[in-house]
Amino acid sequence: MTTPNLSRRDFLRRSGLTGAGLAAAQLLPLRFLQAQTIDAGINPLATYPNRDWEKLYRNQYAYDRSFSWVCAPNDTHNCRITAHVRNGVIVRIGEQFDGASYADLYGNKATVGWGNRHCAKGYTFHRILYGPYRLKHPIVRSGWKRWAEAGFPELTRERKALYKFDARGTDRFERITWEQAFDYIARGSAAIAQRYSGEAGAKLLAQQGYVPEMIQEMGGAGTRTIKMRGGMGLLGVLGKYGMYRLCNSLALLDVHVRGVKPEEAKAGRAWSNYTWHGDQAPGHPWVHGLQNSETDFNDLRFSKLVVMNGKNLVENKMADAHWFIECMERGAKIVVIAPEYGAPSTKADYWIPVRPATDAALWLGVTRVMIDNKWYDEAFVKQFTDFPLLVRTDTLKRLRAAEVFAGYRSALGADGPSKTVQGFTDEQHARLGDFTIWDATAQAPKAVHRDLVGAAFAKSGIDPALDFRGKVKLADGSEVEVATAWNLYRVHLRDYDLDTVADITSAPKNLIEQLAKDIATIKPISIHQGEGINHWFHATEANRAAYLPIMLTGNIGKPGAGCHGWAGNYKAALFQGSKLTGPGFKGWIAEDPFEQNLDPQTHGRDIHAHAYTKDEEPAYWNHGDLPLIVNTPKEGRKVFTGKTHMPTPTKAIFTTNVNLINNAKWAYGMIRNVNPNVELIVTMDTQMTASVEHSDFGLPANSWVEFEDLEVTASCSNPFLQIWKGGIKPLYDSKDDLAILAGIAAALGKVTGDKRFVDHFKFEHEGKRGVYLQRLLDSCTTTAGYKLDDIMAGKYGPPGGCLMLFRTYPRIPFYEQVHDSHPFHTDTGRMHSYSDDPTAIDCGENFIVHREGPEATPYLPNVIVSANPLVRPNDYGIPLAAEHWDERTVRNVKLPWAEIKKTANFLWKDGYQFYCLTPKSRHSVHSSWANVDWHLIWNSNFGDPYRLDKRLPNVGEHQLHMNPAAAGDLGIKDGDYVYVDANAADRPYLGATPSDPFYKVSRLMLRCTYNSAYPYHVVMMKHGSFIATEKTVKAQQTRPDGLSLTNEGYISNFRFGSQQSVTRNWHMPMHQTDTLFHKTKAFMGFIFGGEADNHAVNTVPKECLVSVTKAEDGGLGGRGPWKPGTDGMSPGAENDIMKKYLMGGFAATGGKP
């Protein structure tokens, strides 16, 4: 209750939502439940005399109307569901059961099996909608407004303090009108662009301490300091990704500020989504060149062996988990690889326990068993993988055809799939060249180009030797040693024998062998990797390694097969452009602001797309606004961040729907050390969040059910295109995301006098958003041919719904590769076990290796397990004792496992001896629903709506799962509050000292809960919770009820700190190359190097070690132990009855208990 003086009864009486409800009640006879006369001695409960009372329930469930909408949080489901409205209020939300009605242009239909798509989050959406934590009207930070009124003076140290840029979290907010907000934001943006443009701007930035590479990257354009993030891609292509359209329109601002020609104009930087959330499986582009492999979930039913590797399909794929349950019913085998015995393990035929982040070693061990036993499909290996390709043992590069054959001319045809379908250009071909194979028949090298895969390769007559090593004479007359990758792997895998792998991973040997055997003998198999893999620094290697058994067995491109990455959703690729259809998604976000098409009848293909923006990974902001530059003993100051990734200084941040600051690993470091240098932070959201609390502007967006015009989304795990609008009027003074973006653009038009700013959102201003939507449909390979009106009329299923136009149903990644012999999206056209990328070679990752983490390891940080002479890592002369995070990141050292076992991580020695897993909770989606009371109550052992213990920040409390023995050894009882600390050198934030009040705010304290499912050195807390802030800490320490609820309506899940107290950003060099050749995200074409959400720095929040110390007693009010921990029924304190129960003692049938 928000009004403390109002009693619950009064509240109930006063808040009767409507008069109609009362009237309806009055129509009912009041004596339904009463026997009219006393019947002779009959128990009234024994019979069922009168059913009239059922009318009451029918009345309760009655509604005036309903509407269909799409629940579009950042999950992979996007369920279309129904809101039931009574008197203008959504009273309940229900399912549609219409999966079977979805169809496509060609009459293909989905299956009824998709029905029942809905989870508890969607069911409770109206609690968010009508709940007390909404952002209700535009707000501006008081200090920012004063800065604006002072004419945006340069922010010196004194002025930062004066206007509270260095303490945003303590400032006040003022309500303003939308017009005022747009005007302020436009003027602020223009002032920032002006200040940081040109020579003067560069000089000022240098004075402020930015590294020259970042300043140079700006190319003199102040607009490049403006960063925009269209929150969680494709959750709304128009409203959310419209942010990038706004970002591209800043080219107009640049022209206004610098007076440059349009072709020289530079817009803002477009911040990524998935990679920054650590959701990508970053190894995928290294193996097959595609951003990520993902399949429709109804493909799971075809799998006969499902391997969940660090993936929890039970808790995190709720709406569609039934597909994997179904494959259990169909007799498939389930295997789970994870450190803990978790929810998916309960479904598994066997669970392989592993030490965290050693999965790459496990897969290398499995691969070795398979190769040693000849458990592989030789034809597939030869046709589709790089195993037969020759590698030079001197340079570690693949042997190019041009090196061997004098005057080599490639046979790659202009009519092959590389050129006709995949957009492979001559320039790219010239840079990459062709490759070589040892022909066993001819006993000579043979050239292969990238179209020579699959059947085409088989037809070529080449007889590739798999296991070859020998000398080859080059065209220049010299002789070099070469070997097939296969031959090299046979050497490489000597380090990964079964005993060693069991020792590295702590997995039982028999289960490793069993897994190898199952993969070899069962078809099809699918491997699903999730956050449990992707949130580690060396996820790249674990992803690549999991593909090795797939490559050996050809389990790809077929129903039920594949290796998929499932942490997030790589949805942007769903709206794929092509030469045939047009610019696709880019036609929307990157329409040329200098060549706007204002004809509503224009076909989407004819939109001129030109990106004046450049992608940027927020990870750099998140790293102290720094690229990865290390002063190395051997090579001096070395820049590891590729030019294609290079960030610019961050002076303005615009986000929508992402809760950026809350979700920033190392959030307190951002709040304390980085954001004071940012001059404008604009956050659009439906709710009051920690990000809004630390912004200059909070702009309330309409929720999914309040949308006033159309929005569109699709998912990577189902085939549905979903278009919808809201069905109720906005509750507050909020706007559709796109209307907000258009408003900002219009205000920029006023400030600059450039009408094109207004025109850039012309159809939004005119209320004809559908024009943009039709253009999008026109120009994507997956939607071309659809007419918006038809879709909305229900021609292809429920109004607004239809099937995406995929090649197969279910959508199967790499179907074309396997069935049509199209090349994989790599330079060789084959799946890669080996990489000759220079960064990979420097990192010692040309072969797939297991590396200990740069932080989360008991051993030497970042060490490579290898004695292979062809693994030649560059350590840049950095000593083994170096402790700086960036030094640990780039120090590449290889050692055999026996040597590694003798080493020790300095952090481990300092008492940081727990891996800290931070998986997703089933009760939230990222940070959505993290303040819905019902979910909080379910989400932990400490949920209590009555809040008997006033220490609870809300009605629930975040908890740290801990092995009872480990907790006991530290004197921590079940339910105690504990401090969780990571490396004090950099966390919670750089420069933290216990005397700083902000240290208290940011140091993580939460409840410990005993959980025997976790190994001794592993603790777990769920991520996606709402962080404690300056104001929530003040609130819980001063409010009579102790809630962590601020006056603005933000409520935290923690008393102090958050999961972000122990996380930080890590700049992974393998994520920052300029050289990796791979498919671009949203168009049929290739790129080298960086692209947001595709090949960019992935955040890796699990990469940390923590120490745990007791903070307070867990008992009520901090006195004594937490009672449920002492009742004999809880982990670590089981009484005899509980032990008997756990041993199945009560389930005995017929025999002895």
Binding site: A35, I38, I42, P132, L948, N954
Partner: protein, 509 residues
């Protein structure tokens, strides 16, 4: 009244065995009306009420009788059984049946004996009492020597014997029934059975010296209490032990309530002055209340032993005051684990004395229950969820209009957000049949006040009610009435309560 039983006997005659004599028919009729609900139609201790009672009703088919004057291993005498029916078993749900005539009680004794039978392996029914006669084991009382005077010496001797016989192992050193073996004690049917708490002074088989002497000498069949016959203690020692056990009584006031002789009549004086409706009014002090002993249906510590009842009328309305001691007032329940204080009057609407447990199918009862919580709902300050849980928090309450408060919308009297009266007026024909009268029939007013650790509750109603289900009061015509009290602090609710036996309310002309 014998007439009532005879009428019943006639009524059920059709089902009685043709060979039954008229007296036997009376015994059966009385048993079926007043005993079978608990003890079961065939005496198997399995009547429908048994599940709600603890200790469980005796199982006559077992042949075990606790209260006997006969040696261990023998059946009780007719007088033993008669005494139990007459006295009841104080502190348990077995009431005193003094409202039955002596003849009825004696016939019930015979019927109970008739039911005390088992079936042998051959399927032959064997009556224990008949078999005892044929085997020459006719029940005979043991002789009880005259009670000697109590002296300090005999008390000391008693204490010594108490220790020597290990009485403390079950009954505890101070006699409160908390000896080390107490938690593990079970009866022959495997049910936990706490040993007697001597501090209360209440004994199932009577509290006189002779009663206790017999319990010690003959034991309590079916329980862990063994006989201590002359081979173990002498009669003199046994008397010393009796006196020592009696000296352990502490709760004199309450025991006086329990043991007070009740004449079974509550007289309502006719007043010429205005009827006092204020429970705290000084007028009530001028009356001498009837003290009505109460027995728990489910034993609990500190159960309320008695309620004091006064009644007056003015020719139009009757006012009945109930006062009882309850150190903690429990009002409207807020938490799931909360219960409210309450008191109820149960009237026979036929003038006959029906089964004490909420009447029976031929004799409906009219029940008035005053509830502390309902009274609080009527505008008094009352705790609510957010006052009990000062820090509670919720996002929002959905659908809080009347329609969505289902029970209230359905007209459930108990779910109303406001009450016309704190007294619920309802009817029952046996337990489990209690039904509220419709709102239009709710015509009993009432008010309670809690002060000085006592509740005083006044019920007021017109003497004549137009409602056919209501009890009618006519001067000079006694109405059977019984009382029940609920102690919220003791988690009393519904059938978990303390109850009186039948009394009569008679209005002076």
């Amino acid at each position: 009244m014998s007439t009532q039983a005879l009428a019943q006997a006639t009524a059920v005659g059709g089902t009685a065995a043709a060979s039954e004599t008229a007296p036997a028919q009376i015994g059966r009729a009385v048993y079926e009306q007043h005993c079978a609900a608990c003890h079961g139609a065939n005496g198997a201790g399995d009547g429908p009420a048994a599940v709600w009672l603890y200790p469980k009703p005796r199982h006559f088919n077992s042949g075990y009788f606790k209260i006997r004057s006969t040696p261990s291993g023998f059946l009780p005498t007719d007088d033993d059984l008669f005494e139990v029916i007459t006295r009841g078993m104080p502190g348990s749900s077995m009431p005193s049946f003094t409202y039955l005539s002596e003849q009825e009680r004696r016939e019930v004794v015979q019927y109970v004996k008739h039911l005390s039978a088992s079936v042998d392996a051959a399927g032959k029914r064997i009556n224990f009492f008949e078999e005892a006669v044929t085997k020459g084991r006719t029940p005979m009382s043991i002789s009880v020597p005259p009670e000697p005077p109590v002296t300090v010496r005999t008390l000391a001797q008693g204490q010594e014997i108490y220790s020597k016989l290990n009485c403390f192992v079950c009954h505890g050193l101070t006699g409160e029934g908390t000896g080390p073996a107490a938690p593990a004690l079970k009866d022959v049917w495997g049910l936990s059975l706490p040993p007697r708490d001597f501090n209360t002074g209440a004994f199932r088989g009577g509290h006189t010296g002779r009663d206790l002497y017999l319990r010690i000498a003959t034991g309590l069949a079916g329980t862990p209490m063994p006989p201590y016959d002359d081979s173990v203690v002498t009669p003199e020692q046994r008397w010393a032990l009796v006196h020592y056990v009696q000296s352990l009584r502490r709760k004199d006031v309450e025991i006086n309530d329990i043991l007070a002789r009740v004449d079974g009549l509550v007289r309502a004086r006719r007043l010429s002055q205005p009827l006092p409706t204020d429970p705290a009014g000084p007028f009530w002090e001028t009356l001498d209340p009837v003290r009505v002993p109460l027995s728990p249906l489910w034993p609990e510590t500190n159960s309320i032993p008695a309620v004091a009842v006064s009644a007056v009328h003015d020719g139009t309305r009757v006012a009945i005051l109930c006062t009882w001691r309850d150190p903690i007032a429990n009002g409207a329940p807020v938490r799931a684990q909360d219960f409210q204080d309450a008191v109820a009057l149960q009237f026979s609407t036929t003038g006959r004395t029906p089964f004490i447990g909420m009447g029976d199918k031929d004799n409906p009862v009219n029940v008035w229950q005053w509830k502390a919580g309902w009274q609080q709902e009527r505008g008094e300050p009352r705790p609510d969820v957010n006052t009990v849980y000062a820090s509670m928090h919720a996002d929002l309450y959905f659908q809080t209009d009347t329609l969505h408060r289902t029970a209230e919308a359905a007209g459930n009297l108990l779910a109303r957000s406001e009450y016309a009266s704190p007294v619920e007026d309802g009817n029952a024909r046996g337990f489990g049949t209690f039904t509220s009268q419709p709102p239009s029939g709710q015509n009993v007013a009432g008010r309670g006040i809690w002060r000085d650790s006592h509740w005083s509750v006044v019920f007021v109603r017109e003497l004549k009610s137009p409602d056919a289900d209501d009890v009618q009061f006519v001067a000079g015509q006694p109405v059977p009435v019984a009382f029940a009290v609920w102690d919220g602090e003791n988690r009393d609710r519904n059938g978990r309560k303390v109850v009186s036996n039948w009394l009569k309310l008679q209005l002076d002309p």
